[in-house]
């Protein structure tokens, strides 16, 4: 298996077929991914800790017991905000380096119960704070398509690990777009379910009222399998919902016709100051959805001018409230940007925090009215392609926009409203970087959302080349499993093993 790069970029469905046919075992798979990580991750910094022994033990048990289910024997990894028993939950920070978890987070528990193998803990922007994914202590993940660019964040390691073929899927957290934005910048599917759909028990909080668990995958079908596994009531998480969990995979497979579905397109704000190629890719997706039977209408969101301010006004006091336990004794161990953010949290008057939460009610009411007229909303996922590493701002019309604000400009609103949202690849930019399109649906209507998203992915032409990380083009076989998916892969294999980036 060592030389089979095609397997590295295969979907869970394809890998599960190989496992069930006996083409390879769970133990072979674990060794295959460990070998790739050992060869290439020094240049990407995706992993904070590789839990090889735990994965090998789990693989042995799978081989012995041969449990049913598509996830049995499938490796995965999680952002280092999730507790994995016996392993440090660092939050990507020196502050909590020695926080050893005594129990798996609920998401990890459910994945392992389904037979999946936890391969390790993934890098992130310190404590999930920023969208650039920069981490001065554990290293910054470069974009697998161009290592002079950002992978995005805060779940930078999760996006990088899946895009590099170190794992077929990963989990992250999404408080303002920290799953969807890096997924879009790295050419992946990124799913943020409805607020409360997936338990956050055992996940280090950043902002309780905005935190969501998120999924990174290569296909909508894979995301459906993963969501079905981890969704549902957790009696130990008071914020988790008891809404029934759908058969998401069946919904995606059976629901490619969009007859009877109305899609809303918010032309104002979501199409302003956006890279023209991203607009064109989004329009191509909308045309594809229309051809699949959807009716398309224009919809108008409330004034979005201050929505990121509202989000920040909730985030920072909540983050401060959690981190107060460490600030006095370990404050010097925080990175500069998060320290400044916590300082900002101290300066926000309580009235503004409460007002921000009331404005979120107003936003939700407004979006509910939008969903009176349509079943799903389609927007670009980000207004920009992956910015260069070290950039602090990007052009926005005649002005400059802080890079973190730009990356999450179209995502953070839906953390406040709690609506489910997914990004899927919508094409490749001429700069050699992926572009994403976002689909949003009513609360707990992930099935419909994923039906639309799966159809949206068919808008991407089957690729005839892939990037080589420096804008070059390498011929690939479009009939290969990943080529048939219509998503170009980053092709990291030309990078010398153990090369640092």
């Amino acid at each position: 298996l060592k030389s089979d790069a095609g397997l590295a970029y295969a979907t869970i469905e394809t890998i599960a077929d190989g496992l069930s046919s006996g083409a390879f075992s769970a133990q072979d798979l674990v060794e295959f991914y460990l070998d790739r990580i050992a060869r290439y991750d020094a240049g990407f910094h995706a992993f904070i800790e590789v839990t090889a022994d735990r994965a090998r033990d789990q693989a042995r048990q799978i081989a012995a017991t041969r449990p049913d289910g598509i996830l049995a024997g499938i490796p995965f990894a999680s952002k280092d905000m999730f507790d994995v028993s016996g392993v440090a939950t660092t939050g990507g920070s020196r502050v909590t380096m020695n926080h050893i978890a005594t129990r798996d987070a609920e998401v990890i528990r459910r994945m392992c119960e389904a037979g999946a193998l936890s391969l390790g803990k993934l890098n992130l922007h310190e404590f999930a704070y920023g969208a650039t994914g920069e981490n001065p202590y554990f290293g910054t993940c470069p974009n697998p398509y161009d290592r002079t660019r950002m992978a995005g964040g805060s779940s930078s390691g999760s996006a990088t690990a899946v895009a590099c073929g170190f794992v077929p899927c990963a989990f992250g957290t999404d408080t303002g777009g920290s799953v969807r934005a890096p997924a879009a910048l790295c050419g992946l599917v990124g799913l943020k379910p409805t607020l409360g759909r997936v338990s956050t028990r055992g996940v280090m909080p950043y902002s309780w009222s905005l935190d969501h668990i998120g999924i990174f995958a290569r296909s909508v079908e894979d995301a459906a399998v993963l969501l079905e596994t981890v969704a549902g009531l957790d009696p130990e998480d008071p914020a988790s919902s008891n809404e029934p969990v759908d058969d998401y995979l069946k919904a995606v497979r059976d629901g490619r016709s969009l007859n009877g579905i109305t899609l809303g397109v918010p032309r104002a704000f979501f199409f302003d100051h956006v890279d023209p190629e991203i607009v064109a890719a989004t329009e191509a997706v909308i045309a594809t959805l229309e051809r699949a039977g959807a009716r398309v209408i224009d919809v108008a969101f409330p004034s979005m001018e201050h929505t990121r301010t509202v989000s920040l006004t909730v985030q920072m006091p909540e983050a401060l409230s959690y981190h107060a336990r460490y600030l006095d004794s370990r404050g010097d161990l925080y990175g500069d940007d998060f320290r400044a953010g916590l300082a900002l949290g101290q300066c926000i008057p309580a009235e503004h925090y409460v007002r921000a939460k009331r404005l979120i009610t107003d936003y939700r009411n407004h979006v509910d009215r939008i969903f009176d007229a349509c079943d799903a909303v389609v927007t670009p996922s980000t207004p920009v392609i992956a910015p260069r590493l070290g950039a602090v701002s990007v052009p926005c019309g005649a002005a400059a926009e802080p890079v973190g604000n730009a990356i999450t400009r179209f995502t953070s609103f839906f953390n406040m409203t709690g609506h489910p949202a997914i990004t899927v690849p919508s094409g490749m930019h001429s700069a050699g970087l992926p572009i994403g399109v976002q689909v949003i649906a009513r609360p707990f209507e992930e099935s419909l959302m994923m039906r639309v998203a799966a159809t949206a992915m068919t808008a991407i032409p089957v690729p005839d080349f892939e990037t080589d990380g420096s804008h070059g083009a390498i011929a690939i076989d479009p009939s290969s499993p990943d080529g048939a998916l219509g998503v170009r892969r980053p092709h990291i294999e030309h990078i010398a093993p153990t090369q640092t980036g």
Binding site: L327, Q346, D362
Partner: protein, 85 residues
Amino acid sequence: MASRPGEGKTPMDPVSRSTLIGMGRELIGHPMRDADIDELVDPKLGIITGFQALLDQLESLRRIDLGALPPAQGVRRRPREECGS
């Protein structure tokens, strides 16, 4: 009749570095380093908007009359009959 929030209010002065230093010394429990205050006054790290810009936006938001609208709680599924589509 109730006045709109902020109506008739004198515009605030821009926040200064010395104000934030004073807040750190006199009002706030957790320590703020010079570097933290510098980033609030003149952001260079690209993650957050400067504190003054945030205050300006919060002041704009304060002028929106929200009536008796309560803070956001959990999210619920809307029954189909409530949805117009």
